[in-house]
Symmetry: C2
Amino acid sequence: MAEEKKIPYKIYLEESEMPKAWYNVRADMKNKPAPLLNPGTHQPMTAEELGGVFCEELVQQELDNDTPYFEIPQEIRDFYKMYRPSPLVRAYCLEEKLQTPAKIYYKFEGNNTSGSHKLNSAIAQAYYAKKQGLKGVTTETGAGQWGTALSMACAYLGLDCKVYMVKVSYEQKPFRREVMRTYGASVVPSPSDTTAVGRKILAEHPGTTGSLGCAISEAVEVAVSNPGYRYVLGSVLNQVLLHQSVIGLETKAALDKVGVKPDMIIGCAGGGSNLGGLISPFMGEKLRGEADYEIVAVEPASCPSFTRGVYAYDFCDTGMVCPLAKMYTLGCDFIPAPNHAGGLRYHGMSPVLSQLYADGLMKAVSVPQTAVFEAAEEFARVEGILPAPESAHAIKVAMDEARRCKETGEEKTIVFGLTGTGYFDLVAYQKFHDGLMDDYIPTDEELAAFRAKLPKMD
Amino acid sequence: MAEEKKIPYKIYLEESEMPKAWYNVRADMKNKPAPLLNPGTHQPMTAEELGGVFCEELVQQELDNDTPYFEIPQEIRDFYKMYRPSPLVRAYCLEEKLQTPAKIYYKFEGNNTSGSHKLNSAIAQAYYAKKQGLKGVTTETGAGQWGTALSMACAYLGLDCKVYMVKVSYEQKPFRREVMRTYGASVVPSPSDTTAVGRKILAEHPGTTGSLGCAISEAVEVAVSNPGYRYVLGSVLNQVLLHQSVIGLETKAALDKVGVKPDMIIGCAGGGSNLGGLISPFMGEKLRGEADYEIVAVEPASCPSFTRGVYAYDFCDTGMVCPLAKMYTLGCDFIPAPNHAGGLRYHGMSPVLSQLYADGLMKAVSVPQTAVFEAAEEFARVEGILPAPESAHAIKVAMDEARRCKETGEEKTIVFGLTGTGYFDLVAYQKFHDGLMDDYIPTDEELAAFRAKLPKMD
């Protein structure tokens, strides 16, 4: 450790080196992601239909499978400059701890008050809403990262922000709620009596602690029934992956700057926003035949969309009011066992990533919760940063690979996405320390039961 | 906002530009800070006496009023590289919001898991303990930043870490406690039955929720009665200001890099660690007659050591077992009214800063709590970062000054220290949002009563 290292611990881009355009990986995909379908007619959703729910420019971004680059508006670039570029960190301390010949890098997206990468898309979505002259936006939040990010973006732009927060999170994560209040958002525990769908669910399931699917349904209802409001979503959608490409573009620029080409890129995957953004430019090179990379999605064993789901059309929400998306899914009724990586507890997966996975362009692995927290703690002690449980899924697999390299002597270059910090997840860390964490893995029978309920397509 | 700015939003030093030595402002002081005195004999504490409590090299640093620079050991510089350089941020968004001609910069020390600048001295103190072959260190923590920072440093170096945490904080801030556990520290609520002084206090005051002074006494007792342990402290001491000079050195290097000379430097002050570090190199220039700066300490109105205390010898702890320090003090029995800036609730002030203040080289102001939180929220909404209540004291005064510049048209350059983030202070933000925050200010009579109990000196 004593000698000066050639590659710095943290590689920062200059402001002038920051990406000026987002990259749309769909433009380089031979097999395009399947379109969203109208849940009634099973026909592809038109721009007009989507425009009732989403802002106009975001609808264009959602549907455009051909344009490779979208210029990042100056206002968004200015906002990015407040917390970006995020550092690409060379994990010297982790390498030394593991005594591995592997070279490990991570792109750290947690250095902002939302505590995660979610802010990258939140500011973009809020910006287009503002540009369209809207009054505000609605959304749902589970773990709270997305709601916090959107609140921050709306506070900056002077937009109203209504967040439907899954009731159990609202009660168990009062601090997340309080951050959103600090940024001026109104936060409603879901299900609530402020919407028809919420009242229906409350009547049918008194005492329910809510679900992400239900909160989505409430947020969409409020958006479509209030003039001047639209709904925004923090993951899964094509537009979100487009905005999150800023992660991968910065990562690639930073690696190019120090002359490093990665062998393996690892990211956690819930709805796919972080992984999709991180891998975008690398996947682009792979699709164009310019380079090859091993790309690995990591998901929780309790919610294994990629590794044990099916590639089929399914609803994006539990309330079955949203469009159908073709994706790796466990079924929209699937309720994952309690897992503290709230951001990874989604039944489906980004249609873009789903198509890439179906085409064999990336791999996926699932890991149990306790092993993830063991890796998180080991990482925190040497690298300093307390990771979010979601991010720790990628840490776990990166560390496993680095240990394997120790056995084989491979000097592999591994890059993983450290999506955020665990400051609001300390109840989970406490459970881990107290030995109260379990590793529930759904049985094949359970998964088959949910799968049987997938919508019948013609 | 649309045009490209000449000075970037964030000024980062290259790794190679990071400070290689700490700066000891005492070397340039004409009037040196008064020495620590033995509480029994009232004679200056010798290196030998201090060596029973503190590590040897730290004792040397504590007593050395002449050496201007201390080389930062390579191991500490390597650790610094994991979370430093911290960004110097140009507050473009705040300037625009305030419509001020003032130019505002802040040095942001919150981008690490301890959430504050405390890590700068924690790693140094842990390093010298390790170098001396010790098994571990003991300390106290109130708000929790220092305890967290020390836990992180000890985890990195493989040292044992025993933290006495003020009982009321232990109970009200379970997440702070949990972060320390993640880093392997043992955290004991104080007063406890693990020490003689703790048992005595518990017998005399059953049901007490503890105090920083009591926790110090317990931590010192454990250090001096266990072979292989020493006590470490996160503020007040000369050695701490020396380590924290890395903040000011980086700030100055970053400003020099963009050709900016500040007019005013503002920092919050509890024991003085952040302020002392931030201003060190600027004060050095001022002491040497090379430049002039307006330097402002900001303290809470509920605990106004500088603005309403006296400059006198006093105990550093409530238990009166520590050495006497000459400082601005409210009296070691002074218990400030509840204030959420836990890091600023100390009865005394760094002897270095006290001497500089007595010599008229810096100013001090005190601000009430509610106004601080109003500034914090306004700052968070435009600059994105949720500040710690401590840091928000500096924000408040910087914003006041920027508003004054709007009136006068002055294009003043203001630099303030943003010491940390408020992620663990959301109970305080909640109180603020709910209108439950009060602004207790001690009366002259109350302060006089505590002052009457100052130790009688010969």
